[in-house]
């Protein structure tokens, strides 16, 4: 194991947790969880440690349980396009295994070599390629989750179409481990594109950059992802194209033409590395850098008005145009300037310094009618609040 795997101590909201356990099997995970009960211990569940900034200010934690050594690929059936993994598998590990069979999942993260699939699932964060390839929550076809009593419960299965029983896969997606520790994820996987390109177009105004993005999104050219970001060079529209090798150059030409019809860029660059189109997202949505990061639900048609206002108030922004989400990042500070932008009222604060989390629900507002359901879920799955205490929505 590399030193990154060790991840000791775990730091959450400025506090060190020095007692870190690394169970290497579901049985060890179960034993670890069961040991907590007699001593009334409370645990933080952590994956690769790249997104521990996300979550409400919790109570104190006696220990951290890392999933990083629970990192086996349990089952991979390329002809069925399914893969079962343990939560500590990194996104890079999964990507490399799939690439051997020309398959992939369109999951983007700031730190692929450290970010775990379990962490991506628990924090509910996919990336801009959800436009063309869907979101992680769409690909999880089965799940096993262990409660604080050390008992595993499964749902779904290893088939790509399945309506058997309640959809626990969605219940745990984005729940930050509030209802249990994921011990297995069954994934639907996809054929990998044989060729990818990144088109990066620079504009002087966000309106023009966004107009190009909208022209592409409403075209029939099927961009894999489109983001608009403010960069030192100007407002940049980054497009990822996936296509068969024989078609890729023609597709790039057609996309460039559609974008230029909408707004002529001041510069255009094409690279044969599809991941270049995602660099603005990876930079902006990096939760491990100590900056403030927020995710704003702003649908595409409202983004042109919001982007310049965000930029004017000092935010580095990356609009995931296809998903109606805007990621914004700025250096940590004593206070926040929300610039009067309405979307902040429903924002998800992905990374905040400790003092700015006080009296704030980083998940944003939960509808009144939903609050008792969330509380009953926590009461049902983790009645003694042993797992990630206080870090979920409503301080659950």
């Amino acid at each position: 194991m590399s030193s990154e795997v060790e991840l000791v101590p775990v730091v959450v909201d400025g506090t060190d947790i020095t007692d870190v356990r690394f169970p290497e099997s579901p049985q060890e995970m179960s034993a670890t969880l069961r040991e907590m009960q007699p001593v009334d211990a409370h645990a933080l569940i952590v994956g690769g440690g790249t997104r521990t900034a996300f979550g409400n200010l919790g109570g104190s934690f006696d220990l951290a349980i890392s999933t990083r050594k629970l990192n086996r690929i349990l089952q991979y059936e390329p002809d069925n396009m399914t893969m079962a993994v343990e939560p500590g598998c990194t996104i890079e590990q999964i990507r490399e295994a799939l690439a051997a069979n020309r398959q992939s999942i369109a999951l983007d993260a700031a730190h692929d070599s450290r970010s775990t699939i379990g962490g991506a699932y628990a924090t509910g964060m996919s990336g801009p390629r959800r436009l063309g390839g869907g979101s992680l929550k769409d690909w999880v076809i089965g799940v096993e989750v262990m409660g604080p009593d050390g008992v595993n419960a499964k749902a779904g299965g290893m088939v790509v179409k399945n309506v058997t029983g309640f959809d626990m896969m969605h219940l745990h997606y984005g729940a930050l481990g509030a209802f249990g520790v994921v011990t297995r994820l069954n994934l639907k996987v996809f054929p990998a594109p044989t060729a990818s390109r990144s088109i990066q177009l620079v504009y002087t105004t966000p309106e023009h950059a966004h107009a190009a993005a909208v022209a592409l999104i409403t075209s029939q050219l099927l961009p894999a992802s489109i983001v608009v970001a403010n960069t030192p060079e100007g407002w940049q529209t980054s497009v990822r194209c996936d296509a068969p090798e024989e078609a890729i150059e023609l597709l790039v030409q057609r996309m460039n033409a559609v974008a230029a019809d909408a707004a002529e860029p001041i510069s255009a660059n094409v690279s044969d590395d599809g991941s270049d189109a995602l660099s603005a997202f990876r930079d902006t949505a990096d939760l491990a850098a100590g900056d403030i990061v927020v995710r704003l639900p702003i649908r595409a048609s409202h983004q042109p008005a919001a982007l310049p206002r965000l930029a004017d108030t000092g935010w580095r922004v990356c609009a995931d145009v296809g998903s109606g989400l805007v990621y914004a990042r700025r250096p940590s500070s004593d206070a926040l300037d929300e610039g009067g932008i309405e979307a902040f009222s429903t924002a998800t604060w992905l990374a905040l310094p400790r003092h700015l989390k006080t009296d704030r629900d980083v998940f944003g507002p939960t509808p009144d009618a939903v609050q008792p359901i969330l509380r009953r879920l926590k009461d049902s799955f983790d009645p003694e609040r042993r797992l990630n205490r206080g870090r979920f929505a409503l301080g659950l």
């Binding site: 059936e77 002809d79 069925n80 396009m81 398959q103 509910g124 964060m125 996919s126 959800r130 869907g134 929550k137 769409d138 989750v145 409660g147 008992v151 419960a153 499964k154 749902a155 299965g157 290893m158 088939v159 790509v160 179409k161 309506v163 058997t164 029983g165 309640f166 959809d167 626990m168 969605h170 219940l171 997606y173 984005g174 054929p191 044989t194 999104i217 409403t218 029939q220 099927l222 296509a243 068969p244 078609a247 639900p297 048609s301 995931d320 296809g322 998903s323 998940f363 939960t366 509808p367 009144d368 009618a369 939903v370 008792p372 969330l374 009953r376 879920l377 009461d379 049902s380 929505a393």
Partner: protein, 488 residues
């Protein structure tokens, strides 16, 4: 229910929706004893009243009336469900969504629409076709089924091979929760904070909430569509062609298979041009960029020929594509030419297990002396064997049900599951114990009870509760004793 209580209930319901939209007479209610499930389940249970609200607020107030009377609430869309999900098995108030059919908003740039739950699936795609968008989930019943029903059952359809099932296309829902509150969950963005409440509601068959509006994802109409028909000498060769196509890195929009029995029935009805000498045909739709479709069309044809295809034909016109699809989408109905009744099983296996699963279906046909037609979503491994029978021949239905159970057990042993897309409802809830342990089911019960502590929303559905397998079997037996008005 006591006469006075019933009178008070009906009066309160009428005060919400108007007297004309409360059905309470036995003859009127007999319609609502049925959905499209087999009469082994349907036709037995009657709600106290069926109510047809026109707005979300009326749905909320109807729910509140029912809750105040301690009665179950059973939502119903178009009544096309195949597993008895819309049967009022504990009586109560049925909320019928057929008046709530409006498309309220369409946002092309943001790629979503807001619709009412009673809207017919195909009507949405038809209404937005001129804008260049469609709603991707397309169950075979899409001319009749409702969007609300699709949400309740997490419906699939031929095109979910590429586009995913209903849950992949629902961004948000307005729901009446089991405490009588009306709220939105989810929203127009792809991710919402906290757990995915929208995703948990989709497929819950009305047991967690009653949908009053759905925010649905719109999909851009593809630039190019190709439809190929390939005929094969055996089901096995067709199955192996399916695996080869997927293994080659091609993800068709749909990949459907029909067997000789189905071909015979379909050709007699519609003259779609399916070859009558084939043991199986594959209907393959490819869509996307014109360059990609052209390349994949050649590759699919090559792969089919490599797996002994007798003929591979590509439809050259839209009319020809539509005709090929007509045969597939109307196949179930044409089987009425072969037998007075059929029992449709919906089960799923890993795609590579299709050859052995189909071989097992053939064995069942011989062992139980039942004609079985196969028309199904081969690309997903989602089997739909239709067991043909005559309800009035002694012992036939029993053989059919036993064969269905044997197939289910085989598919589960092969790594499959209980239902691919038709839902659990009443029909299959006891089969959940074949795939889930008590611990698994207890976790699901935790979800259910967190939403619905009184267990009044579509009770006795989805997972085993009061019914044991024996009781379900008795239920099926009762249906056989009912007089001759029931025909599938």
């Amino acid at each position: 229910m006591a006469t006075q209580d019933r009178a008070e209930l009906l009066q309160a319901l009428a005060a919400v929706v108007g007297e004309a939209w409360v059905v309470s007479d036995p003859a009127g209610l007999s319609v609502y004893q049925y959905d499209a499930s087999d009469e082994a389940i349907a036709g037995i249970h009657q709600p106290v009243a069926a109510v047809l609200p026109a707005t979300a607020e009326e749905v909320r107030d109807v729910v509140r009336v029912a809750l105040a009377h301690g009665l179950p609430v059973v939502p119903r869309g178009a009544g096309t469900g195949l597993a008895g999900g819309a049967i009022a098995c504990r009586g109560g108030v049925m909320i019928v969504m057929t008046r709530m059919t409006r498309i309220l908003e369409v946002h092309e740039v943001d790629r979503y629409a807001i619709v009412e739950p009673g809207l017919i699936n195909l009507d949405l795609s038809t209404a937005i076709a001129h804008r260049g968008y469609f709603f991707a989930p397309d169950p075979a019943s899409q001319r009749a089924c409702s969007i609300g029903g699709n949400v309740a059952n997490n419906s699939g359809g031929p095109h979910c091979l590429k586009y995913g099932v209903t849950s992949n296309h629902i961004l948000g829902l307005e729901v009446v929760l089991p405490d009588g509150s009306l709220t939105w969950v989810g929203g127009s963005s792809a991710e919402t904070p906290g757990f995915d409440l929208t995703g948990a509601l989709v497929g819950s068959e009305g047991t967690l909430g009653v949908v009053t509006k759905a925010m649905v994802r719109l999909t851009r109409t593809p630039e190019e569509v190709a439809v190929l028909l390939a005929s094969f000498p055996t089901m096995e060769s067709a199955s192996r062609a399916v695996t080869a196509i997927i293994a080659d890195g091609i993800l068709p929009a749909s990949l459907e298979m029909m067997d000789a029995l189905t071909i015979t029935a379909v050709e007699a009805a519609f003259h779609c041009g399916y070859p009558l000498d084939a043991a199986a045909v594959l209907l393959v739709e490819l869509d996307g960029l014109r360059e990609t479709v052209a390349e994949h069309r050649e590759a699919v044809a090559r792969l089919c020929r490599q797996h002994d295809a007798q003929q591979v034909r590509s439809a050259t016109t839209k009319a020809e594509q539509d005709l090929l699809w007509l045969g597939r989408k109307a196949a179930f109905g044409t089987l009425g030419r072969l037998a007075p009744n059929y029992y449709l099983q919906d089960t799923v296996v890993p795609r590579t297990k299709l050859p052995t699963a189909l071989e097992f279906v053939g064995q069942l046909s011989r062992d139980f002396d039942i004609q079985i037609a196969n028309v199904f979503h081969a690309g997903d491994g989602n089997l739909h064997p239709l067991m043909l029978f005559d309800r009035y021949r002694a012992g036939e239905i029993q053989r059919v049900l036993e064969a269905g159970d044997a197939l289910l057990a085989h598919c589960i042993d092969a790594g499959g599951s209980v239902s691919g897309e038709h839902g659990i409802g009443m029909e299959k809830k006891d089969a959940l114990s074949l795939v889930f342990t008590t611990d698994d089911l207890a976790a699901m019960a935790g979800l259910k009870r967190s939403f619905d502590p009184r267990e009044l929303f579509n009770p006795d559905k989805v997972f085993p509760t009061a019914f044991s397998c024996g009781e379900l079997s008795n239920l099926k037996q009762q249906a056989l004793e009912v007089d001759g008005m029931y025909v599938v």
